[in-house]
Each structure stands twice: as structure tokens, then as C-alpha cells.
Symmetry: C2
Subunit: 186 residues, 2 copies
């Protein structure tokens, strides 16, 4: 299953308190495919040198680092230079300002464009004959924009469940709509 990740933000408990006030807790809007991960009702504005993106969803739960995941279209629009990175690999990545209802904060790094990837449990990876960290290609078939995306990193963890994640640029480039499946082609 191929899922499209729209722009979103992960926050630390500390940064959440700055943006939404002391003692604030994220509220679950919808559980996501990855166990324990959820979309929240909370939104912030992401501000860059050239513009801002209002209404960007926070995904929960809180994380050890605050991280903003944009598409390259988004990043260019607000003037942030964001590298293509795996989630969590934010050293030296893009800077921006985050504005919440109760406060704002500048982050000196944390803005990335997510590297396309597949989540698997160890059993699922074995079944698919791939290993953690392996780079594969995935064929995504659609009526008018079929494509084979290369440079897809396989991430294996018992806490995951099978799903490929691409961003909105990639999803649009593949003409994805509705439920989409991809096929690993090595």
C-alpha cells in the first residue's frame, strides 16, 4: 500500500508547550498506518523567508526532536532549503519558524523533505525479500502517470506495519488517487 504524506510536523513535549501552552496535550484525530502514530487536531503555521504555510498538521505522539516534513514544492514556496532525508536525520537540515496559538519558536534545523521509504515488520521484510536499509525501486501504476520510483529506502522495525510513504509531489507525479498499491522491483 502506498500512502501519501502531506506536509506535517512532529514536536517535542517542550516545543508543544511553547506553541500550545504549558500542560497542553495532543488530541487524536485519526490513527495512522504505523502503530501508535496518529494525526492530531492541532495545527501550526510554518514560516520561511519567502512565505508561510498555515494549518500544517502535527502528528503524534511527541518525539525526541521537532521535525517539519515538507514537499519540495512547499519548501520552495516559503523559501526554506530543505534536504531530502530520512525521518530523524535532521542534523544541518532546514530552519524555519513555527507559530502556534500560544507562542512561536525558531528552529535552526529540522525541516526536511522525506526520503521515500517503505515500512516493514521483520516478518514482512522477509516475505518481501528485502532488508533494513536496502534501496529498492517501486512501480506505481496509474491511468496516466505510471512510474518506477527508485531510491526507496526499506526501514524494518517490529513497531512498523507495511506501507510505502511518498510525499505529495511524488504522489502527484505518479497520478495517485484513492487506494494505491506499489510493486517492489529490485
Amino acid at each position: 500500500m502506498v500512502e501519501t504524506s502531506a506536509r506535517h510536523v512532529h514536536v517535542t513535549a517542550e516545543d508543544l508547550a511553547v506553541l500550545f501552552g504549558e500542560g497542553f496535550e495532543l488530541s487524536v484525530k485519526k490513527m495512522l498506518s504505523q502503530p501508535g502514530q496518529f494525526a492530531t487536531n492541532e495545527r501550526v503555521t510554518v514560516v520561511g523567508p519567502k512565505g508561510e504555510m498555515p494549518g500544517v498538521s502535527i502528528l503524534g505522539p511527541e518525539r525526541p526532536s521537532t521535525q517539519v516534513e515538507l514537499s519540495l514544492t512547499d519548501a520552495r514556496k516559503i523559501g526554506v532549503v530543505a534536504p531530502i532525508r530520512e525521518s530523524g536525520d535532521i542534523k544541518g537540515s532546514g530552519a524555519c519558524k513555527l507559530v502556534g496559538p500560544k507562542g512561536e519558536l525558531e528552529i535552526s534545523e529540522g525541516v526536511i523533505v522525506a526520503k521515500r521509504h517503505i515500512h516493514f515488520t521483520p516478518d514482512q521484510a522477509k516475505e518481501a525479500n528485502v532488508e533494513n536499509g536496502e534501496i529498492v525501486s517501486v512501480k506505481i501504476t496509474s491511468a496516466e502517470r505510471t512510474a518506477i520510483l527508485g531510491d526507496v529506502v526499506v526501514r524494518v522495525n517490529p513497531s512498523y506495519d507495511a506501507a510505502m510513504h511518498i510525499d505529495t509531489d511524488e504522489s502527484n507525479a505518479c497520478g495517485c488517487s484513492g487506494v494505491v498499491y506499489g510493486e517492489i522491483v529490485k
Copy 2:
């Protein structure tokens, strides 16, 4: 050579007069790869049910039909349902309002997302061993987002010159920056 087409508008002489005033002439900002085609200094705002895109460039010269080419990201943002089409094939395509400095107009069709394509002269097509209308795949290599785009239509005309055109979603999905070359893989 792979070129990225940002959102743009083609206008009829009649619609140009509505938007910019009677007797107005498009001014050349930069010649484009296709002979006789040029970016102009003129910009309009494209308005949809959910938002607007200011500063969208007009490409010259005037054409027999007014046509707005957006990315799927753009179309979704302003709430226009735009089909993926070849340039010129606008029957039943998306509607929008165009706003220029001297006037505005509603178009009932003409908003499309361009189908990815390659321009060739007949000689170039022969050399590449492809024919007008043929659907091919093109491998675009980049540091972190190599991909093979399928559903690329070959368009052959003596007035063309060799170039592949993709939109900003596709360009971002392939990690394109600077001068980019693609390889036809049938």
C-alpha cells in the same frame, strides 16, 4: 534535456485584450527551447473555488485557445479539478477565473495538468527511434530521487526542438535541479 514547466497560461488575442486592455502586446522576457515560444513579462492571477495563484506567467505567442497549465499540487490548492491532458486537448477540462490588470474573465474549460511529453523534430525522432504519439518511459537520474517516468508521449513536429517537459510535481519527485538529462527506456 529535461525541462521543468512551472504553472503558466496561454491566451488568445481576444482574452489578452480583456485581461490587459485593447491593443496590448505580450513582451518577450526569455525565449524558450521550442522555436518561437517565449516567456513574457505578463502575469495573471488564476482563481479557483478554494484559492488563487497570483503571478502566473503568460507564455507567448497568443494561441487559438486560452489554456492554463497547473501542477496537481496547484490545482488542489485552488480547488480546480484539472485533468491530465496533452496541450491543446482542453474539451471538458477545468474551469477558473483569470484576473489581469485591466480585466478578468471566467473560462469554462482550459485548465489542465500537462501530460508529460517529449518534443522532437522528425529527424530527432528518427534518431531516437520513436514515432509521433508513441508512449515511452524516461529514466531521470538524480542523487536521491532517481525515477523512471512512464506514460511519456512523444510529439513530433518540424517546429519543435528536442526537449522533455515535466511539471513541478514531477520535477520535484525526481529531485531535478540544474540541467537535467533523461534517457528513453522503452
